[in-house]
């Protein structure tokens, strides 16, 4: 899943609408697989109804005069009429809405409407599924459940997803790739772990703070101590166990300002994580008082925000071996496999 992340008004939704064919850019090339959808040089423009896209709108945009199942059937016109009802019901079952088939949108809750919209978008058998701020209009508890549901859909369906969001939480939870937008310009793009380990993204730093993101597995859960051991490519971390389950995937975010550097491994500290690390880069920015140090731990890159003074005192240089100190409680965790399929009440 690609997340398009940026502040309001940065052009995120416009990109999505251009992909769907709802917006005709002055200069653009939009290709999907081998199909050219928009190419202003050759005056190619495939209208939206001939593009295999599923779009989930921010405000759902369900057809208010049609029941849930009819809403989904509307997107099944490429199927033989006899099969549409059955297919629509199956899709609504997929999003746990079997009980609400014959309800109209105004009889559904916000989260239920969102899931009808999702089922309708999937009905098209899209080559790409576009999600425009899909969680902006639902409350927090519903939001978590929808995120989990979309994440598990992403794993089961073989469809590329594009998520537009201004909420960093969505990015960390769902994205595998990220495109950062600012004032209509792409600031950076790439796999989330690569992008989040870049020290030079000042906009990201100011908006949400720098911090590396990587995937790990729960190797051990120590219920007595309330800790879990997370193994990643080349190392291990201790983190609060919370609801983590053994042998499940977990996404880890280590905020750069929570990482402390030490030349020699300290003793007698309360913290759990002392990771041997190698300095991969030192990034000083004239507009920023701190220095961002890039560290490799195994194959994972960590970022640490330290003062100029600290860099001078430890004489931090590329290639130097240090110890990264991380408090277990300062690590952000997203359990990816916690598939919460409970029906919404």
């Amino acid at each position: 899943m690609l997340a398009i992340f940026g502040p309001s008004g940065s052009g995120k939704t416009t990109i999505l609408r251009a992909v769907a064919g709802l917006y005709r850019p002055a200069h653009a090339t939009i290709r999907c697989g081998s199909h050219s959808w928009t190419d202003t040089r050759t005056a190619t423009f495939v209208p939206p109804y001939r593009r295999a896209v599923g779009l989930v709108f921010q405000e759902y945009a369900l057809f208010p005069h049609l029941t849930a199942v009819r809403n989904v059937m509307t997107a099944l016109s490429h199927q033989p009429p006899a099969e549409r009802q059955h297919k629509a019901e199956a899709l609504l079952k997929l999003v746990h809405l079997s009980e609400q088939l014959s309800r109209k949108p105004h009889e559904l809750s916000g989260g239920e409407r969102q899931r009808v919209a999702l089922a309708r978008a999937l009905a098209r058998e899209p080559a790409v599924l576009l999600l425009d701020e899909p969680f902006a209009a639902v409350d927090r508890s519903v939001r978590r459940r929808l995120q989990t549901q979309i994440d598990s859909l992403r794993r089961t369906l073989d469809v590329p997803l594009v998520l537009v969001t201004h909420d960093f939480d969505d990015v960390v939870r769902l994205a595998t790739h990220v495109l950062l937008l600012e004032h209509g310009r792409a600031v950076a793009s790439g796999p989330i772990s690569t992008l989040m380990s870049r020290p030079d993204l000042s906009w990201l730093r100011d908006a949400v703070g720098l911090g590396s993101v990587f995937d790990a597995r729960v190797a051990r859960v120590d219920a007595d101590r309330g800790l879990a051991e997370l193994t990643f490519d080349g190392g291990a971390l201790l983190a609060p166990a919370g609801h983590l389950q053994l042998n499940t995937a977990v996404r880890v975010r280590v905020p750069a300002r929570e990482v402390v550097l030490a030349a020699i491994p300290p003793t007698g500290l309360s913290l759990h994580n002392v990771l041997p690390a190698t300095v991969a880069g030192v990034h000083a920015d004239a507009t920023f008082e701190a220095v961002v140090v890039q560290l490799t731990v195994g194959r994972v890159v960590l970022l640490a925000e330290v003062t100029r003074d600290a860099v001078a005192r430890l004489s931090i240089n590329v290639g130097q071996r240090l110890h990264a100190l991380i408090k277990s409680v300062s690590i952000d965790l997203v359990a990816a496999d916690a598939d919460d399929t409970n029906e919404e009440q």
Binding site: P48, Y49, L55, A61, L62, T74, A123
Partner: protein
């Protein structure tokens, strides 16, 4: 009771709707979803018949469709007689006088559809015609219904334009409202009273039917 006048009134109402509704749906939707230069002027022109005194409207229609104008001559060539003071002339005049009553409610009806819903229809793979037929028209239906009622009611009650363009020819252009006036002029209070009551009953019945229809359409907003 002037049955011929009642028949002409009802035919005129139905005929005006039949002519104007398809045009109104097309044009109302156009005004609702498109932005173009001169839209303000077009909207003003559409509304003009609403604010113009019926006699003034009738005067211009007579001038436009009279035997001396090219348009009038073209009509005469097609239907075989001059347009003014004929039922066809009345129909044309009534259609023009009712443009705002048809276009405005329909335009509002289409404007009430969120643009996201229209976009969603396109993203569902519906062709423009299917989008219109299956999504937009059902949602704009209350506006179309209102347009029909207003047009019908307005046509039944129209007096100035009818008298100017149609005159008062029994069995051809004498509508019920003109007949009522005619009876009053002849001091036939009873005849006028019967016809006025008939118009009242027809109007109430029309309203009841449309209310029932719009109820059946059910709540459509989600």
């Amino acid at each position: 009771m002037d049955w011929a006048a009642l028949r002409i009134s009802l035919w005129l109402g139905a005929g005006t709707i039949a002519i104007l509704l398809p045009l109104g749906v097309w044009f109302g939707r156009l005004l609702a979803v498109r932005d173009f230069t001169g839209k303000l002027l077009v909207e003003a022109l559409v509304t003009v018949p609403l604010v113009l005194p019926p006699t003034v409207l009738g005067f211009y229609l007579l001038v436009t469709f009279g035997a001396r104008s090219p348009i009038g001559q073209a009509f005469q060539a097609v239907i075989g007689h001059p347009l003014p003071f004929s039922f066809q002339g009345l129909l044309v005049a009534s259609a023009i006088a009712n443009i705002p009553f048809v276009v405005q409610p329909i335009q509002r009806g289409f404007e009430a559809i969120p643009s996201d819903v229209r976009d969603a229809a396109a993203c569902c793979g519906l062709t423009p015609w299917q989008q219109f037929r299956r999504i937009e028209l059902p949602l704009a239906w209350p506006g179309v219904l209102t347009a029909s009622i207003l047009t019908f009611a307005h046509t039944l009650g129209e007096f100035g334009v009818v008298l100017m363009v149609g005159g008062n020819l029994p069995g051809q252009t004498r509508t019920l409202s003109v007949a009522i006036y005619d009876r009053m002029q002849a001091f036939d209070d009873r005849g006028a009273g019967v016809m006025a009551a008939t118009l009242l009953v027809v109007s109430v019945a029309t309203l009841m039917i449309t209310t029932a229809l719009s109820r059946r359409a059910g709540p459509t907003r989600g």
